[in-house]
């Protein structure tokens, strides 16, 4: 077995996702402690220069499995290719993003390899040559430290937790083509339904603006969207707003929705039920606007405004817009 860390890269429309660089940065830190190197693997079809950034961010080598059957992600095809590569190269740790793709792929791959998998990890530590992983459980109401007992160690990595290293564009990619036979694929993607308009993904966003029951109706999400637009933020919603049918479930932040870790989380008209707090409490800064001064959201907020959100939010939006224009 080697002491190398293998990062499973992920692309969206031929662009590497930010999580790839976050994993390379953290993967390198772990590999350094174990005396190995960080490497990446890309699966796809007609892949070219778009994978060069993997080397810029620190991957010593990039394995490339290029085949028409790998153009679109499938759990079965990707598992077949990766299981073969992992048996061949014997990395000590395999990282995938805790994205909808990585979370779909990693359990299948781990079961194929009959090894353990730590999901949605937020910390890694090497102690006496062993890997200890921290990950939130109960949607972040508690933090568990996990020891993996089998190798290769496997983990999915939560986006927005680890800082991407500074890229060095002078580093040339060392690409190695690897067998790309996807084998038999039973479950296949037959269509992609894209959301109308450009939507910023909640779990990857640097700023999130969320609305809750205090908005009083679906039409008032326009206020949230206007503020989000000024900030380049993703839009979220509380369970109350989702259950009322004001927003689709894919917008829900909380224990039965998405867990987000942005730099700034703005909660508008959200009281802060325990199941909502579980989904946003690890944000760097939290701002809350609520007319009830006893709302639990204020207990976790760095900046709180007790007042009518219909009066506060438009002024906040205008002021931030002005600041942005001033630069």
């Amino acid at each position: 077995m080697s002491n190398n860390v293998l990062v499973v890269a992920e692309m969206r429309e031929s662009v590497l996702k930010k999580i790839c660089f976050e994993m390379i940065g953290e993967g390198k830190r772990i590999a350094d402690k174990l005396g190995g190197a960080v490497e990446a693997v890309v699966l796809g079809h007609e892949v070219g220069d778009e994978i060069a950034p993997l080397a810029h961010y620190g991957a010593e080598k990039t394995y490339l499995a290029d085949d028409p059957a790998l153009a679109n992600y499938t759990a079965e095809g990707y598992t077949n290719v990766l299981a073969r590569l992992i048996k061949e190269t014997e990395p000590i740790l395999v990282l995938t993003g805790a994205t909808t793709q990585g979370k779909d792929l990693a359990p299948r791959l781990a079961a194929r390899l009959a090894v353990g998998l730590a999901s949605d990890c937020t910390g890694f530590e090497v102690q006496d040559g062993e890997l200890l992983v921290t990950r939130p459980i109960y949607a972040g109401k508690a933090i568990a430290t996990i020891r993996e007992e089998t190798t290769p160690y496997m983990a999915t990595v939560r986006p927005n937790i680890f800082a991407a290293p500074e890229p060095d564009t002078s580093r040339a990619a060392q690409v190695e083509k690897v067998p790309a036979d996807a084998g038999s694929i039973r479950a296949k993607v037959i269509e992609m339904i894209q959301e109308a308009g450009e939507r910023i993904e909640l779990t990857e966003a640097d700023i999130v603006v969320s609305g809750g029951r205090g908005l009083k109706g679906p039409e008032n999400f326009a206020l949230i969207e206007a503020l989000a637009q000024v900030l380049g933020a993703a839009v979220g919603a509380s369970r109350a707003a989702v259950d009322a049918g004001w927003k689709d479930h894919s917008y829900q932040v909380g224990q039965t929705g998405k867990v987000v870790t942005p730099t700034l989380y703005i909660a508008c008209g959200i009281s802060g039920a325990i199941q909502h707090l579980a989904g946003m409490k690890t944000s760097r800064y939290i701002m809350a606007i609520n007319k009830d001064s006893d709302a639990p959201i204020f207990k976790v907020a760095d900046y709180g405004i007790v007042g009518d959100l219909f009066k506060v939010v438009p002024v906040l939006t205008e002021e931030l817009k002005k600041m942005r224009a001033e630069g």
Binding site: T100, A111, L117, I143, T145, A301, G304, E319, L320, M323
Partner: protein
């Protein structure tokens, strides 16, 4: 059509998690059916109703108290339930849990298997997908819409991804993991709740399931919990409650100067 639904009993999401001696303290925990499993159960019921025939079997692995989760599913209309219970199962990690379910399913008839997309306790989100791999059937995870083909040999599932939905065509049998949005689960009727009292829920131990006791449980777990701790609590920051417009301007400046978000 034989529909199998894997369910798990978990602490209610309203539960405040307490930690004692590096482990979650469950002495005051109230247990419920895992919320995502409720969508799985509801989808099974709807398929049976649509087809006008079928058998819905619930299966859970867990201690004696987990039987209540099976009873909840029977109360809304599942036909039978099987409880996988053995001291040797305790402390099983996601892989071992999937292995136990796999061995049990090999003794059952199944055309489609449902799981919740994750348990809202340890949040691994692995068992359903690992189960599919061990059974050597395809899976579609995080499903928000499902249509069974007329010949009942395949299904089309909508799966939630970052930028929208993937539409996946899969032959059956397959494992489907349910996401919120798949349907609106029904409540049990009084009649349904009463009917459960007459149902016998068989218990299968490791021998019945046909799984090697040495390969499951805490001892041989591939991932082990070393310690559980509570996250550091946040403290309340600056609160403004004078004039909405003035307060908004003050906070906008703090966001720029302190949080440096612009």
């Amino acid at each position: 059509m034989n529909i199998v639904i894997c369910v798990k009993q978990v602490p209610d999401t309203e539960t405040k998690i307490k930690v004692k001696d590096g482990q979650v303290d469950h002495t005051e925990t109230k247990y419920v059916v895992n919320p995502y499993d409720e969508y799985a159960i509801e989808e099974g019921l709807r398929i049976k109703e649509r087809l006008g025939e079928g058998k819905i079997s619930l299966i859970t692995m867990g201690p004696q108290r987990a039987k209540d989760a099976l009873k909840s599913g029977l109360a809304v209309g599942a036909d039978e339930a099987i409880h996988l219970v053995d001291e040797a199962f305790e402390g099983s990690d996601p892989y071992a849990t999937a292995l136990i379910l796999c061995k049990a399913l090999e003794k059952m008839d199944y055309d489609i298997i449902f799981c919740g997309k994750q348990g809202v306790d340890e949040d691994h989100a692995q068992v359903g997908i690992a189960l599919a791999e061990l059974l050597d059937v395809p899976h579609v995870s995080v499903v928000t819409r499902l249509e069974i083909a007329e010949d009942e040999k395949s299904a089309v599932a909508h799966r939630e991804v970052e930028s929208g939905h993937e539409v996946v065509d899969t032959p059956l049998p397959a494992v489907i993991t349910a996401q919120k949005g798949l349907n609106e689960p029904r409540y049990a009727s009084i009649k349904g709740i009463m009917a459960v009292k007459k149902k016998v829920i068989p218990e299968w131990n490791a021998d019945d399931v046909g799984v090697d006791r040495d390969k499951v449980g805490l001892e041989t777990a591939k991932i082990k919990f070393v310690e559980v701790a509570l996250p550091t609590e946040r403290t309340a920051g600056k609160v403004f409650d004078e004039d909405p417009a003035q307060d908004a301007i003050k906070v906008a400046h703090l966001l720029r100067d302190e949080a440096k978000i612009l």
